[in-house]
């Protein structure tokens, strides 16, 4: 069985490799075809010179950074507090953090728009809503990453040790707890980064500049530039996941949303 089984194993692996890599290769080759007859990076040059690209890309970077910051400021203290002081809140909090899994992005934005596009809660046009929404979207990953990190350090003992040395809550959080869960926070941060950078639905329907809607718009009338963007997007995702692997030492996350 061993010999025959190996052949089948190779068969499926090669099939898998073909399926995964052919679209990527096609995209990359396509992106090099902007100049007629010659392989060049013209499409990339066009993209980088397009002010709309710069605006969209930096906008996405901004949204991602802000989302991460809000996430850290909200979820780290919450996870810490739940673990330390209010264990009874645990089930409720965890349930809430898992709701975004159950609500597809399109339904979520549907609810957001309907709720916040009428006075007195007319904030549908505000970037605050977008950041908040992104934070919610990244919540399952960010909160879980932080929680896992907290689980692996003895929160109670560290807190008590710090308190017995005279530390206040702020000091404890920023100089004792956070440095010890640095890896988990980075893990969650990079996942959130990847999610927000690639996110299309929220940005599109809340009408804000972002990378993915820009790319979708470009697909309507350009051929080669979207390919370049796809390559950039893929490289970005790779980079994020790669950093997570290196930094996270195996704490991996899959994103089953945003598509």
């Amino acid at each position: 069985m061993k010999g025959r089984g190996k052949i089948w194993a190779w068969f499926f692996i090669i099939l898998g490799i073909l399926y995964f890599f052919l679209p990527l290769i096609a995209t990359f080759l396509f992106s090099l075809r902007a100049k007629l007859g010659v392989l060049s990076f013209q499409a990339y040059a066009n993209v980088f010179n397009d002010p709309k690209f710069i605006r969209s890309f930096t906008a996405s970077l901004l949204w991602a950074t802000l989302t991460i910051l809000v996430g850290i400021m909200l979820f780290v203290p919450t996870a810490y507090w739940v673990r330390l002081k209010v264990p009874k809140a645990r089930t409720a909090v965890e349930f809430i953090t898992l709701i975004p899994f159950v609500v597809p992005a399109i339904v979520y934005v549907f609810g957001l728009v309907r709720t916040y596009s009428q006075p007195p809660l007319l904030i549908v046009d505000s970037p605050v809503l977008l950041i908040a929404a992104y934070t919610i979207l990244s919540m399952p990953y960010m909160y879980r990453a932080v929680d896992i990190g907290l689980r692996s350090i003895d929160v109670r003992t560290l807190t008590e040790a710090a308190q017995s040395l005279g530390a206040g809550w702020g000091t404890i959080l920023f100089r004792v707890i956070i440095p010890n869960i640095r890896v988990s926070i980075l893990n969650g941060a990079f996942l959130s980064f990847a999610i927000v950078m690639g996110e299309y639905i929220l940005a599109q329907y809340l009408v804000k500049p972002a990378f993915a809607p820009y790319m979708a718009g470009l697909m309507q009338n350009k051929a080669y530039e979207p390919a370049a963007l796809a390559v950039i997007s893929f490289a970005l995702t790779w980079a994020c996941m790669g950093i997570i692997q290196v930094v996270g030492r195996g704490q991996q996350g899959q994103i089953a949303g945003g598509h």
């Binding site: 995209t27 809430i96 994103i255 089953a256 598509h259």
Partner: protein
């Protein structure tokens, strides 16, 4: 401050005395407030307005009932369920075979790590860029089509097109396989070599081992992940939108259109549709969780 003072002070603060319980809950208020405003309240809006008549505001079950009668909506559900079923079952089968080949197929060790790493990335590579990648590959001017035409065969002359149901299914597989691989890999790792040996020792052939031992053990995991994959496909939007421009009427696409303008002719229907989606997703996640728990119990 003396050590005694410090000890006294943390005797008061470090251990939550019962009377201080209400104050401690204050610490999680920001979280509850935030999630209420930006998650629970909008979600509840959907639920409540599904049961409201869109003009009068009175309570009604009509919206929900219409879901099952409106042919346009039924059609959307049918297509969504079809594509979710096909890509979840197909993704589960191929993902399992891929994972098993890499882990137990007698291949070099780096295969397993490479596959898992790649799947970690590929499962996130969805939406607009994925749609474009497949356009680059399989559109009438795509790379693969070009190769096939070089051999004298043009699939587009034989009825193939990327921008249909089957094309979309093919694209969906790109994030379905990897998700399956990632989730089933630990289950495959958990298959102990002694089980095979014990069954052989008791007279079983390899086929009998698979039939009586291996598959039954893996089944809850396989089933659970398939259900998860179903939910995954059901809720997908961006990929379909980017690939087909909204031509294929998935439930998600209809909801998207509803956002732009009332295509359904009744606001209440839009909410009911959204609610229906959430129900399907919730069932999928619940099914997955239940089955995973069964697996974990066995593989302890």
């Amino acid at each position: 401050m003396t050590v005694l003072d410090a000890v006294k002070r943390d005797a008061l603060t470090a251990r939550p005395a019962p009377s201080k319980r209400s104050w401690a809950w204050l610490g999680v208020m920001p979280f509850f407030l935030f999630t209420f405003l930006f998650l629970l309240y909008p979600a509840s809006t959907i639920v409540i307005r599904s049961f409201q008549n869109s003009t009068t505001g009175a309570f009604t079950l009509q919206n929900i009932l219409t879901l099952f009668k409106n042919p346009y909506i039924l059609g959307a559900y049918k297509i969504s369920i079809q594509i979710s079923l096909i890509t979840s079952v197909g993704g589960a089968i191929f993902g399992f075979l891929l994972a098993y080949a890499a882990i137990r197929g007698g291949l070099p060790v780096f295969m397993r790590v490479s596959l898992l790493t790649f799947c970690g990335v590929a499962s996130n590579f969805a939406g607009v860029p994925l749609a474009f990648a497949f356009i680059a590959l399989l559109s009438p001017t795509g790379m693969l089509i070009g190769w096939m035409r070089a051999f004298g065969y043009n699939p587009y002359f034989h009825g193939f097109t990327l921008y249909t149901f089957w094309g979309l299914s093919l694209v969906y597989m790109y994030f379905q396989f990897p998700l399956m691989v990632l989730i089933i890999a630990p289950a495959i790792d958990g298959m102990r070599r002694e089980w095979l040996e014990a069954s052989q020792n008791l007279g079983a052939t390899t086929a009998q081992y698979w039939r009586h031992v291996a598959f039954p053990i893996l089944l809850p995991s396989l089933l659970g992940t398939t259900i998860l994959l179903f939910g995954n496909a059901f809720g997908a939007f961006a990929t379909a939108q980017a690939l087909t421009g909204g031509q294929i009427n998935l439930v998600t696409i209809v909801i998207g259109s509803q956002l732009r303008g009332d295509v359904l002719g009744d606001q209440g229907l839009g909410y009911a549709l959204a609610l229906g989606m959430v129900v399907v997703m919730a069932l999928a996640i619940a099914g997955y969780t239940l089955l995973q728990r069964r697996t974990e119990r066995w593989l302890r």
